[in-house]
């Protein structure tokens, strides 16, 4: 018997505070885990606005703990990890989960270190109370691991768990103190944000990615037109981000974002193992490449052997035609 503590990221905007979609995936994993552990889900929200986002979290979790303190204005693993560890103890948690996002991947292992807890990263499936399925070797194999410590830390993959549905009745919201905050000398300096009106890459329904064959950043504009037509997020291969054609956080792959949209366009992408690891969970994959021998065609559901310069404008025109006909 033990509870599951789900660390939940949230956003605060002029319209109010609410959970991120990544938190909803985490809560969906946490529900499965709580069932296996014979306990309940406790959602944990940390940082300014946590109290405001509490009621939104309570739609999805029977119990919500918020830690809201001005000293937590910027996420720092050094200050957040001890709070997660303390709340986990106070709530009788036997499993702690955080989505495998940039924050979750930074934070969760530090929490595990503080608690001497074994950890399973990037989990794709819950196979039992303490047993998890996770990709290894860049997604070329799946390993089932058992974690034998009294407390277990898990980072579920957002692309593998659907957003949790609302509960029939909202849960309760409690506050917990931040305690003495010690950043150990670490400081947040600044965030150079990539502003975009497009959906987040990690949970977009459609993703349009370009690769080395796009040659330069200017050429990505035509892909962006396609993306905006489809309400898609933009992605890229490592070759394209390394070459500085597009922002680094567009990178899809083993070392970038893992995506699993309904529809994935790979344009002028050869299909290195590195890239495939990040997108082969997509429902439908379309590859456009002028070289028919590229490995991307081996994972694509639909392939078009053509130069992007000709194919992408045609694709935009055909989709517009289709939309107009409906």
């Amino acid at each position: 018997m033990g509870n599951v503590l789900a660390f939940c990221e949230f956003v605060v905007s002029s319209g109010g505070a609410q959970l991120r979609s990544s938190a909803l995936s985490n809560l969906s994993f946490a529900r499965l885990a709580a069932e296996a552990h014979g306990g309940e889900v406790v959602a944990l929200l940390i940082g300014p606005g946590a109290a405001a986002a509490g009621p939104d979290a309570a739609k999805y979790a029977p119990k919500v703990v918020v830690v809201d303190d001005p000293g937590l204005a910027h996420y720092l693993a050094e200050t957040y990890a001890p709070i997660v560890a303390e709340v986990a103890k106070a709530q009788g948690a036997t499993l702690i989960s955080a989505t495998a996002s940039a924050v979750g991947k930074d934070l969760a292992p530090r929490v595990a270190g503080l608690l001497d807890a074994g950890m399973a990263s990037d989990v794709a499936k819950l196979a039992g109370k303490d047993t998890f399925v996770r990709p290894v070797l860049a997604g070329n194999a799946y390993s089932t691991v058992q974690v034998t410590t009294p407390i277990i830390v898990v980072t579920p993959r957002q692309s593998e768990f659907e957003a949790a549905a609302e509960l029939p009745a909202a849960g309760t919201v409690a506050t917990a103190p931040a305690g003495a905050l010690d950043a150990l000398g670490a400081e947040f300096v600044r965030l150079d944000a990539q502003k975009s009106d497009r959906p987040e890459l990690s949970d977009a329904k459609v993703v349009v990615s370009g690769g080395r064959g796009m040659k330069n950043g200017e050429n990505f504009k035509v892909l962006e037109q396609l993306a905006d037509l489809l309400g898609a997020a933009m992605g890229a291969s490592r070759a394209a981000t390394d070459a500085g054609m597009v922002p680094a956080d567009w990178q899809v792959g083993q070392t970038g974002k893992i995506v699993a949209p309904n529809l994935y366009f790979a344009v002028a992408i050869s299909g290195a193992i590195q890239h495939l690891a990040g997108m082969k969970g997509s429902k439908t994959i379309v590859a456009i490449n002028k070289n028919k021998d590229e490995p991307i065609f081996q994972v694509a559901d639909y392939g078009v052997v053509a130069e992007w310069e000709k194919a992408v404008p045609e694709l935009i025109a055909e989709i517009k035609k289709l939309k107009a006909s409906r």
Binding site: P109, V111, G113, L137, Y142
Partner: protein, 275 residues
């Protein structure tokens, strides 16, 4: 500056994964230094040298630590050949260790060696766990800067400003000496590491970590490699993570090459129903 760089040998990721008796079959596999760890060595080297004239700064030392079987000595020598000064090889089988065991050993080595910083890869490309750096920082009570895409040593040489690739942008985090820094791919970009000595205008190749030179390979043969055992660190107590089985993912159903874009759009709409 004294920098500790933990490294792991991993099966060459370009090999096709094979399964035998429910686990990855590594018979006859070729091995390499984990790519991200190689990048960590490159980062450490760039911190302690003048890149323009290739000279080492006085008082600098780079220590490589690796846990692994006897055969891992080969990959450790590669790190020495790249330019690390000495190595500690903690001999063990891969089955004996998991992240927490590795962390326990590394924490003991940090306590003994007292480095100014630990710089390591963000993850090993076999297990893809991305845990050890953060766990080690927690155990040491040190700050951490993970997924470093850039690194700048402050003018007073007492802090690092680390550019971290996060969801939605690049976050800059400042950490003092005695921190754990884990590096990401772009740390090997031509100007990603600034140490205040190498001229700002100097461009490194940016094509990954440097290759060992012939001179480096010869020198590495004479560099000290301390041999140790898990038990020396009280860490021979067993791993808490047990791998039960490994399977290969089911292959994707064969796709089709379509003749033109009009056909593609028709199929996406009518067959796949995604438009």
């Amino acid at each position: 500056m004294k920098i500790l760089v933990p490294v792991k040998r991993v099966p060459d990721p370009t090999q096709k994964a094979k399964i035998k008796d429910g686990h990855i079959d590594l018979t006859g596999a070729s091995w390499i230094v984990n790519t991200f760890d190689e990048y960590a060595i490159e980062t450490a080297l760039r911190l302690v040298e003048n890149g323009a004239d290739n000279t080492r700064l006085p008082g600098a030392e780079i220590i490589v630590v690796s846990l692994g079987p006897d055969e891992a000595a080969k990959e450790i020598r590669t790190c020495l050949a790249m330019g690390a000064d000495r190595a500690i090889h903690v001999s063990c089988s891969d089955a004996e260790i998991d992240s927490l065991v590795v962390v326990k050993v590394l924490a003991a080595i940090v306590a003994a060696e007292k480095p100014d910083a630990v710089i390591m890869g963000k993850q090993a490309v076999d297990g893809d766990a991305n845990q050890v750096g953060q766990m080690l920082a927690a155990k040491l009570g040190w700050p951490q800067a993970t997924f470093a895409a850039s690194l700048e040593l402050s003018a007073d040489k007492a802090a690092f400003t680390v550019g971290r690739e996060v969801d939605g942008g690049v976050e800059y985090k400042k950490v003092p000496l005695h921190s754990v820094i884990t590096v990401d791919l772009r740390i090997v970009a031509p100007r990603a590491v600034k140490n205040g000595v190498t001229p700002e205008s100097h461009n490194y190749s940016g094509e990954g970590a440097r290759l060992p030179s012939l001179k480096g390979i010869m020198a590495a043969k004479k560099k000290p490699m301390t041999q140790a055992k898990l038990a020396d660190y009280g860490a021979g107590l067993g791993a808490v993570i047990r791998e039960q089985s490994v399977v290969l993912p089911p292959p994707r159903a064969a796709g089709q090459i379509v003749a033109d874009i009009a056909t593609l759009v028709k199929k996406l709409a009518d067959e796949a129903k995604v438009l």
